[in-house]
């Protein structure tokens, strides 16, 4: 199956959990944002209970969990925002 590269960015609590600002992922074509979240849950025990992803941004725009990623995308999971 062909593969693509995606940049995954970590912010706030997710940066603390991942211990990194970002990571490069190699994914199978057709992978969705939600599927990346499920991989993260499998990697970090503290995320195990978070069955649903938080809000999602692809290339700095809000997207839905079923959004299909494409080569070179910048993906970020957006924990509940708390500006102001």
């Amino acid at each position: 199956m062909p593969a693509m590269k995606v940049r995954l960015l970590f912010f706030a609590v997710l940066r603390d959990i991942a211990g990194a600002d970002e990571r490069e992922l190699t994914l199978a074509d057709g992978t969705t944002a939600s599927e990346v979240w499920q991989e993260l849950r499998a990697s970090y025990d503290t995320l195990a209970d978070y069955t649903q992803p938080p809000m999602i941004a692809i290339n700095e725009t809000y997207a839905t969990p079923d959004a299909v990623l494409t080569e070179g995308d910048e993906l970020a999971f957006i924990p509940p925002v708390a500006g102001g």
């Binding site: 912010f11 706030a12 970020a76 500006g83």
Partner: protein, 145 residues
């Protein structure tokens, strides 16, 4: 013009950017770090952001509010980094020929910022530190908005 800053906010400079000779009023809103939250003492707050996306979302809000209140001029800036009690985290200025629009525009902006702009805060106090809005979210499922 950036909507984010790492330096203390100059609120009067924000007012000077919006006020025109045709305006009869301006409203200046500042959000400040308070010393408590949910019954716990707070000493400081660290603000984090997905900067390029936060700039875009701020721009979207400003454009929407300007469309909603055509005679009103608005400006907003959010501070990031480590802030202590009493520091302003956000300032919003809205100037209009009449006060009602200035109040409404200002209120709309702060409400929208809290909904969509990717900015987060980690509160620090004598009991430790915590990213707001994350703990206990798992059971609810779905998206918080």
């Amino acid at each position: 013009m950036s909507y984010l800053t790492d330096a203390p906010i100059d609120a009067q400079a924000l007012v000077r950017r919006v006020i025109r000779r045709s305006d009869g009023a301006y409203v200046l809103f500042e959000g400040v770090v308070r010393n408590h939250h949910d019954g716990k003492a707070v000493e400081s707050i660290f603000y984090d952001a997905y900067r390029p996306m936060a700039e875009k979302e701020m721009e979207k809000i400003v454009r929407e509010v300007e469309a909603q209140f055509p005679d009103t001029a608005v400006a907003v800036v959010h501070r990031l980094g480590q802030l202590v009690v009493g520091d302003s985290s956000i300032a919003i200025a809205a100037a209009s020929p009449h006060r009602a629009e200035a109040f409404a525009a200002c209120r709309t902006i702060i409400d929208r910022v809290k909904e969509t702009v990717p900015i987060w805060k980690k509160e620090r106090g004598p009991d430790g530190e915590e990213w707001l809005g994350w703990q206990g979210r798992s059971g609810r499922g779905g998206v918080d908005g």
